[in-house]
Symmetry: C3
Subunit: 305 residues, 3 copies
């Protein structure tokens, strides 16, 4: 059963994930052949209440490689020139009149579910929050791990950096928790640790995890190091030894030869550009996978109509 909307990571069962990944591999082949025109009559609306060119470009390119067309705004809050404070539900209804799928980026948790409740076309969560999810990022992250490591069972995955408000960290954790014998390591300065509701979720689902305030002991033990940026503007001088959370040549020397380094890009100082040349640097391949996973999701939604 194809989903009608893409709202949160939890809605993906393992069989649905496997079907998505098979479809993703097909999309990779289609792009290599120059794309398709199968969906040339479809219109996608990118309705962004916050700017994110990275996510928008990835969705738009996915739609275009499928042959489709795109409406886009990064200032959906100024949807009408009328009085402010308009209801998301009305904006979504009006947008749905003009397209076949809505990609929504919103600053409020739960916005996609509200939009899906009134939309005549499928809605995709392209990031909501703070505190919400960014499931398509998590799906492309999970696909990358699967594609690089050839399995999702039994993996050890470290997330390093500011985790507390990380939408993608949250979404990816939900997904990883679905696989057998996964072990998660949350490596963060204490006041930036992953939020307790995620840990409660992992406890409920018997997923094993460990918290650490530095990567030193963790790096040699993991298959995946997922680097998250730390917002330097929120830190007092000398409060945290930020360099300890960065990945450089030293870190590589201590990692498994089969491990990979991931990052949602663009990066700050948390990954030294020297790492780029190491074959374990998976973040450019990860970025490229965004296109294929989003193409696969769009075709799933179009076929569920």
């Amino acid at each position: 059963m194809n989903p009608k909307h893409i709202i949160e990571s939890q809605q993906f069962t393992v069989p649905l994930l496997m079907e998505l990944f098979e479809r993703t591999r097909q999309m990779k082949k289609i792009v290599a052949r120059g794309g398709t025109r199968d969906y040339e009559r479809k219109i996608m609306a990118a309705l962004f209440y916050q700017p994110s060119t990275r996510t928008r470009f990835s969705f738009e390119a996915a739609m275009m490689r499928l042959g489709g067309r795109v409406l886009a705004t990064e200032k959906a809050g100024a949807f009408s020139s009328a009085i402010p404070g308009e209801r998301l539900e009305d904006t979504v209804r009006v947008t749905a009149d003009n397209c076949d799928v809505i990609v929504l980026r919103h600053n409020e948790e739960g916005a996609t579910a509200r939009a899906a409740g009134v939309s005549s076309v499928p809605v995709i969560n392209a990031g909501e929050g703070p505190g919400g999810q960014h499931p398509t990022q998590a799906l492309l992250d999970l696909y990358t791990i699967y594609d690089e490591c050839k399995t999702l069972d039994g993996l050890s995955v470290a997330m390093v950096g500011a985790l507390g408000k990380s939408r993608t960290g949250r979404s990816l954790t939900y997904l990883l928790g679905k696989f057998a014998r996964v072990r998660l390591y949350f490596v963060a300065p204490p006041r930036m640790q992953i939020s307790p509701d995620i840990l409660a979720y992992l406890d409920r689902h018997n997923v094993s995890y460990e918290l650490a305030d530095g990567p030193d002991d963790i790096l040699p033990r993991v298959d995946v190091v997922y680097q998250k940026p730390i917002d330097r503007t929120r830190i007092h001088d000398g409060e945290i030894n930020l360099a300890a959370y960065n990945i450089g040549a030293d870190s590589l020397a201590r990692m498994k030869r089969s491990a990979i380094v991931m990052h949602a890009l663009p990066r700050g100082p948390e990954i030294d550009p020297l790492v780029d040349r190491d074959p374990r640097a998976a973040y450019f391949r990860q970025s490229r996978n965004g296109l294929f996973v989003r193409m696969a999701l769009l075709t799933m939604l179009f076929e569920s109509e």
Copy 2:
């Protein structure tokens, strides 16, 4: 004779309106079949000096459902990185080099006429003012009334809310005045009433109208209630009983069973979301008609070349 530009409501004769509406019905069928590729070599430029995602999406989707392509800016005032204060005429000439039709949104009355005077391609007024017109909104409003009420002759239409600076109210009034035995009701707080030049226009054309400062007496008598937002930020506390201008379950009980409620969306508190479920709530159908009317207008302009 197809028009060369869409500048103001007054340019539409009744026969031209009827031709437009026939064409609009054809577009509805074309969209139901997935759109056409007849205009795939055409480019529309949305040249917006004010942001309005609602109007822009509607025009862009119209062009895309016709198979065409779109250039767009909502900051046309920053057209060039050169010195500010550039002439609209030059911007329009340069834009016309790159497209087949220009959709212009501008903050000055008369901008579309100036643009049409120098453009090598058709220009459409997508809202200008304050004090100016928004003819395509008025055309989709009129089409909606025609489609819902099956006639335009002899109708009673109430406009409720802040009417003074309403571009769409102005444009729609010009259009309704062309039909036989139409009766207009302007329901507004006194200092937000429709402007005297519109009333003078109606007097000259022998259109009957009535002014009221509340909807109570008017609702049972009309075929159409067109709700306009009131900008709450411009009102002193207690100055106006705003709730009196809102439509809710009570208002519905007092309206004709054949009447309709219209609104340009997105709405503020002037329509209670509970009204949505009543079949007389025509505003979602009205919103959808924008696509078809704009497709019809675009094809008219392309065929007049």
Copy 3:
């Protein structure tokens, strides 16, 4: 040999310029026939760190007339919602995943060369600086001179206005210097004169030039008058007699009958709109040429793959 990237004017040899101009003439014919669909599977990303609707529209329309598709942002500095200060190189890599060619507008000199160093797809410089170049503007300017004057050898060209920080003046000067017996006149208020590094370049290449602080003596002697805007906000009252740098009916009377007036548009007061009617006013034809030259450049890059 087709270029892999379009970085600066200097990379164009005279034979490559002639091939580009032949290709430009073909594009003019293709547009007259309604464009082509040869490149319908190609995606262009307009990655603008500064807004310039004029340049963006021209590139986007060029891509669309070739049948291709477009991703666009004019706020590339907000590429990701992550921490600010991201590296251009990462943004370019991520963008390249989603397209077949990148059109880059950047506020730093050298940005295009840096982007080209990491991009998996061709990169076009769509203006960088201050102090940098805007080669596609220079190429369309040069094509216009060639098309209007039927030669580039032996021409006398005056640039009039604020020249010091002019990206296009800089780029065009490099190109004109490649042709035999060209004579350049730089007409500017003293503190807005062309920068010394350009003059050193001309000296090295034995291009003859003259500096002047007013156009009076120059106008009767030249084949091309290229008007540049002067930023009036940077001038003290009475410091400069700005009117002396404007072109009006008087100036036309003193120019050769075969001369042309050029301008990148939109203009300020430096060209009186009365000049528009004179056949020597070449700026509207020049603007139109931007489309054809950019189409030609895009096809060159696509064929060099």
